[in-house]
Chain length 225, copies 4
């Protein structure tokens, strides 16, 4: 329950910052910094409780990683992530809708899909390595590594694919009018493909760190507490 | 006494930077970075001595958290925080008043109040998790998490509520003319509501880490030394 | 094999970000931040597996450092680094070539060579100290130190030498037309000279941490693993 | 000897970055970021060897702190710091002198002196706490805390006092024409006053961590090895 509350809070603030700072333009050119810094903060705040997914594609990756989350938990996580994103977009829209004209970016399908796949692959590859690899258990740089990945992604892909990387963010961006409903499939498909590829690759490279060995130090299951 | 001195120094430099870099515009568009970086620095410098509150709303939160601070200590902390902010604003004003025209931002009450409540909730939720949660005792990322929260808050809320999040900063901003006296209640009320909500939420989710168990490792009382 | 895959991924994303964010201008003035943040991320993600070279000049330096890498491994590392850079430049070019006109910067040989030598010296001096010095074994700041060096290098040298510091990046920049083929020798020579000087200097100052003592804690050989 | 070499390298790159990125304007508005990031990098690279002073005012502070450095060592440190700054300014000037017109900033004595004293106080207060306080021995955030202090200082004070904070940097800035010779006393006096005040304040608040107790864990003397 506490884990779900933390997933809700983290996703809410991530999405609220995305909507207000970037979509409604309150941070001007500094939107990516606002988003990256808030992500670093909420990852460090919630990481020890819920592993700080804040992203349905990341929750799916943790399921495939094995032993961090059960199928039922994954769907609970996703539900509160979408709820947090929904409420954040709703509040941002209620507060700032009139102040800036938001027009949906028309994404060019090929580059946008490639971009979303590539950088969600990068994001999940980074997360799997800094948050689940046995060799760096107990490290404290995970928040910086994850947040900085997103800063780089937004600066690099912002114009091309909006650097969504997250199905819950895709819903929020559609709600506030930045992503057209007809293209919402694009970041959703891209992020799920990218995330799945990254975790399959990771599992392939870390065969001895799979769930079956039931080794607490290589893998901290949330399920069985 | 040393704790009070550190609270004074930290709050002084935080507020001096806010006034000079942002209000008097010396940092141009980089004000939020100046404020965030100085906050990271003073949190790391003073954290091991006074827990680096630098904010009456945070001191109130530590009181409600239980066992970190007594009522009497809280008022001493608040007194030196207000004193530090007062002197910083006075010095900044003496040095730079003539160089830039400062006009009070007229805040729109609803959005500003919502913004201050939300992001002070975020700030205190982050602080409680990184500075008091048993699971991450001894972590070294607390300064980055706290400073980055404030960077995100200023970029996101700067235009809407000034992203004050701190009653002592509210007083300073009123002194230098950035916040009108008739609206000073707004960030003060918002930050106290947000901070209280966050710590109540935190305590609810961490029942076994309350003061009553008198466990040194879950809670380092300042009172009884 | 897993090490080579990680070298490939890290170099690929580093070079893709360089090409898209900076060369094709997607990040505008924030290119250096995009490059620096992605480097921090991939160093933290891959460091525990391949030592995160992502740079043939750095692999050469690890060879000279002694005991981290064999000659044969060094050439494998270099091969996948060049392959990653080649594919990243190819993909970036396929996606964005039409959108921005890229003209080769005509480097002034003297300053550019001095700049490349100096800052690759700095980069490798930083890497040797944070990633191989016995006194800071197990530290977690290596990613920040390395990424921040590159941010500083690009801001300082960007106009003078393109701040390449990396033969694989030199190839990629030539492929996308930012570096003329007739000047590609310049960052390659500069980075190899700078890297070699730095590691020779480091070995001179750390005689007791050479390979011959076969001390696991001072030196983690990849070879015999 | 190795310590002196590291002090030389760190100061050289700090000053070279200051001169090229800021004085000769290669980093445009991003000069403070270039300087702050290179400082973080060289502090992490050299901290375990020489304590990474890179600043005569800081070396003086370590002398007053007690047991970190002897008088003779302090003068050796200062000598190589001035030498590094001198050569960095000379090289920067040789490479870029013709490309940008540098005019000496005419500092207003009062504000500039106050600014230099205040922020060197802050810098040394931060350094003493993160690099010498017993309570945070072995921490890894010292580089970030120190580098971020300087970023904040430059954004806040850049226009007022040039945010020199360092007698060796003062010499370099005079050499490249950014600081007039008639005002070089100003940052030198300000930084020495600020540094001395900070360390005296620190020693007063940490009486049990003075040298006399000869406790290795509270104080790592460089002298007696």
């Amino acid at each position: 329950m506490n884990r779900l509350a933390h997933e809700f809070i983290g996703t809410f603030f991530l999405v609220f910052t995305i909507c207000v700072a970037s979509v409604y333009g309150k941070a001007g050119a500094y939107g990516p910094l606002a988003i990256g810094t808030v992500l670093v903060a909420v990852v460090y705040a919630g990481g020890h409780i819920s592993k700080a997914h804040y992203n349905p594609a990341v929750s799916l990756a943790f399921l495939i990683r094995g032993c961090y989350i059960s199928v039922r938990e994954m769907f609970s996580f996703m539900a509160v992530q979408f709820l947090g994103a929904f409420l954040a977009a709703l509040l941002a829209s209620a507060l700032f809708k009139g102040e800036a004209e938001v027009t949906a970016t028309q994404l060019s399908v090929g580059p946008a899909l490639v971009g979303e796949i590539l950088f969600t692959f990068l994001l999940v590859w980074v997360i799997m390595n800094v948050a689940t690899a046995k060799a760096v258990t107990g490290n404290q740089f995970y928040g910086i590594a994850i947040g900085f990945t997103v800063i780089a992604a937004i600066y690099t892909l912002g114009e091309t694919s909006l650097a969504v990387l997250n199905p819950a963010v895709a819903v929020a961006l559609t709600m506030v009018g930045k992503l057209s409903l007809s293209q919402i499939w694009l970041p959703i498909a891209g992020s799920l493909i990218g995330a799945t590829s990254a975790v399959v690759f990771f599992n392939f490279g870390h065969p001895s760190e799979s769930c079956s060995e039931s080794d607490e130090s290589s893998c901290r299951p949330i399920d069985g507490k």
